[in-house]
């Protein structure tokens, strides 16, 4: 079956250099996907370790351009996972400090830095991008950007890592994609035994993704959800606790005030859901951003951006949680109220 997808802007053939560099991935997602990637413009807001990891993966994939947006400076904490900022860039702007190494990853991608605060960026700024990825922002700020992006038809992903725990929420609005449905066709030969042939049928699907507000309105203490929480582990609860901390204190828990912040976190947890599964031990692993966990979450987020841009395969819908205890990565479907 031939699927009729919008194939504009992908008419230009890849150069020989591109074919060579991207050979191993073209063999996975195909030529058409690679051409789509080449036109994609991506914003990464927040150049913490997670931002660096997503940036790396997106640049390697061969998108058109990546803008790095951050008004913060490089701190000691960044050296736990922010490998794009060199040691000597301590106290200088994080986005600018990341430029040289980001460019070295793939000279074919156009990479720029912007040191203005995210809060001061208005609608026209976001309209330049196909996908906007934001990390380290408050819920209030995430809601504002999500609403701008939904007005513009720009795909939006909010993500964060605390220590070894991480999540993302995908606000992709109406998204069309093609996925291969694998079937086994019986190829019978009259005098021989039955044989199977696998056939993959490209199938188009259209899916609606609710906005970020769906998550903020989601009640994790609802009895219907508690059962799920028990089965999947405390990830979603931990996310709630950490976001509440950020909203209340306008910062994240810090290793510098480890014991005091752990006390505050336990308080938020017990207020939200007494006797919950969320152990003190799990709370002890949420400081800074730990490289291997950032690699997992950053890998997952970048793969989602690639899916969104190439329109191949279903982006996860719509809340992803990485549980560092088990290394499970799972998806919760959060519907709009």
């Amino acid at each position: 079956m031939v699927v009729d997808m919008d194939t504009n802007e992908t008419a230009v053939e890849l150069t020989e250099a591109e074919n060579e560099l991207y050979d191993r991935q073209i063999r996975l997602w195909g030529l058409e996907s690679q051409k789509r990637l080449r036109t994609a413009k991506i914003l990464i807001a927040g150049l913490c370790g997670l931002g660096a990891e997503i940036t790396k993966n997106i640049i390697l994939s061969g998108v058109n351009s990546v803008k790095l947006l951050d008004d913060k400076n490089v701190t000691e904490e960044d050296f736990c996972s922010q490998f794009l900022a060199p040691r000597e860039s301590l106290n200088s702007n994080r986005a600018e400090a990341s430029l040289a190494r980001a460019r070295a990853l793939n000279p074919m991608v156009d990479i720029s830095a912007d040191r203005e605060p995210l809060q001061e960026k208005a609608s026209e700024f976001f309209s330049q991008f196909d996908v906007v990825v934001v990390n380290g922002a408050t819920n209030e700020e995430l809601l504002r950007i999500d609403s701008i992006c939904r007005d513009l038809g720009v795909k939006f992903i909010a993500t964060d890592v605390w220590g070894t725990f991480g999540f993302y929420f995908a606000s992709l609005q109406k998204h069309s994609y093609v996925e291969d449905v694998i079937k086994h066709k019986v190829v019978s030969n009259a005098d021989k035994k039955k044989k199977y042939e696998t056939v993959s049928i490209p199938t188009q699907r259209d899916v609606d993704y609710p906005g970020y507000s769906a998550w903020l309105e989601f009640d994790i203490t609802a009895p219907s959800y508690l059962r799920k929480l028990k089965r999947n582990g405390p990830g979603v609860l931990l996310l709630s606790v950490l976001q509440k901390f950020r909203t209340a204190h306008q910062r994240d828990p810090s290793y510098k005030t480890r014991d005091a912040d752990l006390e505050l976190l336990r308080g938020i947890r017990d207020e939200l859901l007494p006797n919950s599964l969320l152990s003190d031990e799990a709370l002890g692993l949420i400081f800074a951003q730990i490289s291997p966990a950032v690699a997992v979450v950053g890998g997952v987020v970048a793969q989602e951006v690639i899916k969104v841009v190439t329109k191949v395969e279903a982006p996860h819908r719509n809340l992803f949680v990485f549980d560092p205890e088990t290394c499970a990565g799972y998806v919760e479907t959060i519907e709009a109220k």
């Binding site: 079937k183 005098d191 290394c327």
Partner: protein, 705 residues
């Protein structure tokens, strides 16, 4: 460097990270990511080993390398790049093979933990054995495309890498390749053999001429018909050929029409494109047509003629055809590419000194062009779908696709597991699988439900390992016993073998000591049914008893088969009677019982390996990061679940509702081959067959058509 900053990690973990010494084996896609995670986490005592150099096609994911590093040592460049992330780390890089004798058990004992990020099974088997010996925990990882996996191997606690059988390489019977191809891969394999016949190291198994002894060509009802061309017909048909060539041909005992020296003949023809083309694609095909029994149930091939494709003087300005990698070339274009690549290859070949030969390499442009063109011409002749050069390269080079994201995720999980290993929280070190699509529980990073213990029948990690070797003792030579069984299949490096009852030395690791035995058949040396051999690989510190079980192999059948558990020995007939459908369904049933991630290996109670000696193997090769990945059984269901959940507005037009009786939506195992060309010092290919207890197929039958 998280561990260098107080308060980031809990204090105990911080200390463990700071003081641990770790080895990273492999600096490829996963290795680069693992090394970055280690230095940033605050590990300061790291060693990394890789024998490979950097290739342009690595740069889409091996992010520690840039364009200016192409051709340099992966281990060394990875070290330099990682040091820029954390100048306080101490990293030792080895540009070397991990199977080299420089890295013995004492080398491995230095480490608190080994993280392996290899791309081939032989090296994995070796590292597995070294870590078992040294009693160092090993975190084993691999990726292929969107799939990744990480597992802990710890002596006495978990399965070892060789506790479960791995899928074998796909192989094809010789007569399928030479006489009756039916899939593009058959023609691609044939084309690679043709390359080797002309320019490469010519192997006996790689004959490309028609096989007159094909059992299919024999008259089935016993009547003496036209199954084989008569000798005089043969002579007639080849009448136009040079005299030398006729002399070079003879019917051998096993019926092969052997060109004693195709290579010499081609050289004598001055590599005339038309002559060579007509021989391979016209005369040989005409010969095949005379084996008329072959074509009673098959579509007969149609020979092609050089002059009709490329009339004299028509060639010229089409040099760019070969550069159109994604286009399916026309048959005329194939002929053109054939001529151009033949010219280039022969020129290079003639410049070689002495007995030097060319090695086929997917990245060598004329070599790849030649195979693509020849495979497509042959496909055209046999009415098989032709493929683009790009697609043929994937198949001929066995390229495993690789992307940055899967490597990042897998390496991340690997180092997350490293923390648990250092903390000795073994129960939390269950294997994890990364998948493209979520399973029925909406997990796509899927931890195993349990930590499977060692397989008591494992021929590597069991306390007194023994295997039964079904072997045709009347046809296998001692040299083959060593090279094919002990080295290639059982992955020993340099074994000593003695006969248990007499103590006499059959194979010695000392060079020259048992050379006189090499050419002898097993039976000649009284190695017959029931004899027990004691094998000892000193370097791997690995001892294995082999119980010989004789069988008479059929034509085109394996000459041997390794069975780890004697109870698996069942009459061959029984297996073959089993219908494919039945066993497929059995597999499906079992699949349901298995854990959520689809890892079914715990069902197996022993590895079984086999090697076909006659059929052709697809020799895998690539530089990528992979191992055998077990497919997720939930995947098929998920497609359906996802369809229901999401507001599907344009349902698939194919509309096929799932009818389990007709459509099997998922295979138990997706076979992903790993590569072997990276470890010249170590053993090479290894073939494993998968067994599935539930299907009562104790040893997998390789389907021969």
């Amino acid at each position: 460097m998280a561990a260098a900053i107080d308060g980031v990690f809990p204090a105990t973990l911080q200390e463990l990270v700071k003081k641990s010494k770790v080895l990273v084996v492999g600096a490829g896609g996963i290795g680069c990511e693992v090394l970055k995670n280690l230095v940033l986490s605050g590990f300061t005592d790291i060693e990394i080993i890789d024998l490979d150099t950097i290739d342009l096609s690595n740069l889409n994911r091996q992010f520690l390398f840039h364009r200016e590093h192409v051709g340099k040592s992966k281990a060394r460049v990875a070290r330099e790049s990682a040091l820029s992330f954390n100048p306080d780390a101490k990293i030792t890089a080895y540009h070397d093979s991990v199977t080299s004798t420089d890295y013995g058990v004492n080398f491995f004992k230095k480490f608190d933990l080994v993280l392996s990020a290899l791309d081939n099974r032989a090296a994995r088997n070796h590292v597995n054995r070294m870590c078992l010996n040294a009693d160092v925990p090993l975190i084993e990882s691999g990726t292929a495309g969107y799939n990744g996996q990480v597992e802990l191997i710890k002596r006495g606690l978990t399965q070892c890498y060789e506790c479960t059988p791995k899928d074998k390489q796909r192989s094809f019977p010789g007569c399928t390749i030479r006489n009756t191809p039916s899939e593009p891969i058959h023609c691609i394999v044939w084309a690679k053999h043709l390359f080797n016949q002309l320019f490469g190291e010519s192997l006996e198994d790689e004959d490309i001429s028609p096989d007159a002894a094909d059992p299919d060509a024999k008259e089935k009802d016993g009547a003496d018909g036209d199954g084989e061309p008569k000798d005089d017909e043969k002579e007639n048909e080849k009448g136009e050929e040079s005299k030398e060539e006729k002399e070079a041909k003879e019917d051998t005992a096993n019926g092969n029409v052997v060109r004693i020296n195709t290579r010499q003949w081609a050289k004598d023809c001055n590599y005339d494109a038309g002559k060579l083309f007509n021989k391979f694609f016209n005369e040989d095909i005409t010969y095949l047509l005379r084996m008329s029994n072959l074509w009673k149930t098959r579509k007969a091939p149609v020979p092609v003629q050089w002059d009709t494709l490329l009339p004299e003087g028509s060639s010229g300005d089409q040099k760019d055809v070969a550069k159109q990698h994604h286009k399916v070339w026309s048959i005329e274009e194939c002929a053109q590419v054939f001529a151009n690549s033949l010219k280039e290859l022969s020129a290079t070949f003639l410049k070689l000194e002495g007995d030097d030969t060319l090695a086929w390499d997917k990245d060598d442009q004329p070599a790849m062009d030649f195979v693509a063109a020849c495979a497509n011409v042959r496909s055209h002749i046999f009415d098989i779908e032709r493929k683009s050069r790009f697609e043929i390269k994937s198949m001929a080079g066995n390229i495993i696709p690789a992307i940055a994201t899967t490597n990042a995720i897998t390496a991340g999980i690997s180092v997350m597991r490293a923390f648990k290993v250092l903390e000795a929280k073994w129960e939390q070190c269950k294997a994890v699988y990364a998948r493209l699509r979520p399973n029925a529980r909406n997990h796509f990073l899927v931890p195993d439900a349990s930590l499977p213990g060692p397989n008591p029948n494992c021929y590597v990690c069991a306390s007194d390992p023994a295997i039964t070797l079904k072997i045709d003792t009347k046809r296998m030579h001692i040299k083959e016993l060593r090279d094919e069984v002990l080295v290639k299949t059982l992955n020993m490096l340099n074994p000593d073998v003695t006969v248990q009852s007499t103590g006499s030395i059959l194979i010695s690791s000392e060079e020259g000591e048992t050379e006189c035995n090499e050419g002898k058949l097993l039976s000649e040396l009284n190695i017959v049914d029931g004899v027990i051999l004691k094998c000892d690989d000193f370097f791997q510190n690995y001892e294995l008893s082999i119980i010989i079980s004789h069988f008479d192999a059929e034509r085109d059948e394996n000459l041997f088969e390794v069975v780890a558990d004697a109870s698996q020995l069942k009459p061959k007939d029984e297996e073959q009677k089993k219908d494919t459908v039945e066993s497929k369904e059995d597999e499906q049933k079992t699949a349901v019982k298995r854990s959520a991630n689809g890892e079914g290996d715990s069902k197996d109670d022993g590895p079984s390996t086999s090697k076909r000696s006659r059929p052709t193997e697809v020799v895998e090769e690539d530089d990528d990061d992979c191992l055998v990945i077990e497919e997720d059984e939930d995947q098929a269901d998920v497609v359906v679940v996802a369809t229901d959940k999401l507001s599907v507005q344009s349902p698939p037009k194919s509309g096929a509702k799932r009818k389990p009786s007709e459509v099997i939506e998922d295979e138990d195992i997706t076979e992903i081959l790993d590569s072997s060309d990276d470890e010249p010092a170590g053993p090479t290919k290894c073939k494993r067959s998968r067994l599935d207890e539930s299907s009562s197929n104790p040893v997998e039958v390789i389907s021969i058509d």
